[in-house]
Symmetry: C2
Subunit: 414 residues, 2 copies
């Protein structure tokens, strides 16, 4: 394979996670080592938008200690975007602009960190560059708390969110049982079409300190059946804890908020959910006549770096680092994925997934991992998730709060 010499750019896309910056640290650390192959290492401000706007930072000018701190800094340090590229056959303006910018800055390595939509973006850009005869290696670095990326055992970002959710749900369990009066608690967890994260509350249940009922988008949501389930538990315990995915929907496809009102949609046409727990809690309050409490983990579940999984932080770093190594070795158009041994101890085995396979394919929880009633998880899910949440990430502390990375963000000049 011929050596491809030039500059590299890395961008972060989609909703942030606790470890997306750890992947950035992996990409930057490895790319900055590649003297003779990679000259400049750029970080795009706000993902693909920063490339279109020619707004990116010269990472070589950053303090190495701050790059190290990225490992334990939540959210997207470079800024992210939810920008949707048009279909190139309809409007190729953005694609032409990207090739123009890449030529201008001699960008030969493009690393993009994101979920399904971002892998789709990578794939489209790569195809267009091939057509435009600009040699550039494109590698996707996976990221999503939703864990719905196709072809990979799991995805950086998920494990930390799962650890936070399992831990916080246990704490809420203790809080919710403190009085001897009746109380129904409804916990809302992110997850539009896949219930991986909501299912993490099953770890708390496995520890005897979790929800009584768990509702996932994988199962058609039946509000009458839920009421029946809740009534039974409440009659016995005077307490009921329910974990519900924001994305649960009835058999006719309607989300819970849609049952009572209109729903906004984003640039990708995704419904902007939220409020599911409040709606269900009010419903239960009316039907059962007891006190209800709603907990929304909201942004906290994707940015609580103080409660990250050590394994997740390490794997996210490794994914970024491996993307660079593979590209240097001549690979392109792959996403870094992982598998684990079918038997025995957990191990993180890197695997490469062609971008056109991963793009826009969603992975859901296997039906047999969900109990028959569709309101709880079976042991295979617990066995799957436990190795991922083990180990605590310890960001350095300063004045009793985490010391997060502070990048200088010096704009690149041609």
């Amino acid at each position: 394979m011929s050596k491809l010499i030039g500059n590299a750019i890395f961008g972060q896309s989609g909703g942030p996670t606790s470890v997306i910056n750890s992947s950035a640290a992996g990409v930057f650390t490895e790319a900055l080592k590649q003297s003779g192959v990679i000259d400049k290492v750029y970080g795009a401000a706000h993902g693909i938008k920063g490339i279109l706007d020619e707004k990116f930072y010269d990472i070589g000018l950053e303090d190495p200690y701050e790059i190290e701190l990225l490992k334990t800094t939540p959210s997207s340090a470079l800024g992210s975007c939810r920008y949707k590229l048009a279909d190139a056959s309809v409007d190729d303006t953005d694609y032409k602009r990207i090739v123009e910018v890449f030529r201008k800055y001699n960008i030969r390595y493009f690393f993009y960190n994101g979920g399904n939509d971002s892998m789709d973006t990578c794939n489209k850009i790569s195809k267009f560059m091939q057509k435009a005869d600009w040699e550039c290696r494109v590698m996707g670095v996976p990221k999503t708390i939703d864990n719905d990326l196709f072809g990979t055992d799991h995805c950086p970002g998920f494990s930390s969110a799962a650890k936070y959710i399992a831990t916080s749900t246990m704490e809420i369990y203790h809080d919710a049982r403190v009085y001897d009066t009746g109380m129904i608690t409804v916990i809302e967890v992110m997850g539009r079409n896949a219930g991986w994260l909501t299912a993490a509350t099953a770890v708390s249940a496995y520890k005897g300190q979790g929800p009584d009922l768990i509702y996932l988008p994988e199962i058609d949501f039946d509000i009458d059946k839920m009421l029946e389930d809740v009534k039974k538990i409440y009659a016995k315990d005077l307490k009921c804890i329910i974990a519900v995915s924001e994305g649960v929907k009835a058999a006719d496809g309607r989300y819970v908020p849609e049952l009572v009102g209109s729903v906004d949609r984003d640039a990708f046409g995704h419904a902007q959910l939220g409020g599911t727990a409040t709606i269900l809690a009010n419903y239960l309050k009316e039907k059962i006549g007891c006190k209800v409490r709603t907990i929304e983990f909201s942004l906290l579940q994707r940015c609580a770096a103080h409660c990250a999984s050590k394994r997740d932080v390490e794997e996210a770093f490794l994914a970024g680092q491996t993307a660079v190594k593979c590209a240097i070795d001549g690979m392109t158009d792959y996403m870094i994925g992982c598998s684990r041994p079918e038997e025995g101890e957990y191990r993180f085995d890197i695997k490469l997934i062609p971008l056109d396979e991963v793009a826009n394919t969603e992975r859901k929880i296997p039906r047999e991992w969900i109990n028959e009633a569709g309101n709880g998880l079976n042991q295979p899910y617990i066995d799957y998730v436990l190795p991922l949440i083990i180990g605590e990430s310890a960001p350095p502390m300063e004045d009793g709060v985490p010391r997060f990375a502070k990048l200088k963000k010096i704009l690149a000049t041609k």
Copy 2:
């Protein structure tokens, strides 16, 4: 001082905290050592209600390791209550019952863990027992995330909640700035009449990663002035983060939710707040026309033991332990408080506060610690709070989640 020989009972009251069980560990550990003075050590189920119902656990039968684990277990392991005793001069039924139970079980030491209302309860019970000629030493162990207890520098529970709030607010700050599009984030923090906890978001601001505006109940809330403040910041940054206490109220005394609807009240006549941030966010969305996001820390801020302050855990334990030691030494009718040196290094100096001084007196943030505009904190608050949040409490972990105490809860028999 004559030696008072008999049994001891401990109860937990009011809303739980991350460290209320650490005080329980302090009381139990110390009381169980007092052979020859204290025979049985009881833990009341659901505070004073457990005493009235003769429902309490024999703590001597618990595994010492589980008592040790109480230090890092959130919420009230024994169960709590929000039971209000009547005025004894109007209806002394409950008081007579308490004396009856105390006589029956030969209870000579009564330790009660709670906030303002609980100290008032302790005080009333003690006075009644004196009248009824039942010698029993009564000591209050302070507890409140609100930090509004009179006469003490701070209160166990506050520091851990403050640490969680400061940490989570920093994480939210990073998350909220991830896109280059406009966004207003409103964070709601607990605190009915005192803003100590909401003020903890100022630690994040002090670190350059916090809210732009902080609204406390100490300052009359002016919604027009807030809108003006937000507009200015948003025009400049396209971002604005606001931290607001659930208890902010207008000059005419109305809480934010009361401006738009009715409010429930609890047994103590306290308004059941919540929803303040959502109401303000909707108001700002309408007035400014931008995307808004609401974060409610809700129960998480008082039960996130995974992010507790090490100092708080230790001080809470010490408060419980000292209550027992003082009672053994003959003291009664005091709450354990603390002071710190006026100059130099932080130190936790125990101080005893007569119960009738503390009961039902609320402590607020000094006006001079709040900035002139009434929308931020001054350096003295930061200097006050930083020593309290230093050090991380590390609950033992099992399967990637905290291992919390599991008490056997064996009911006491006469």
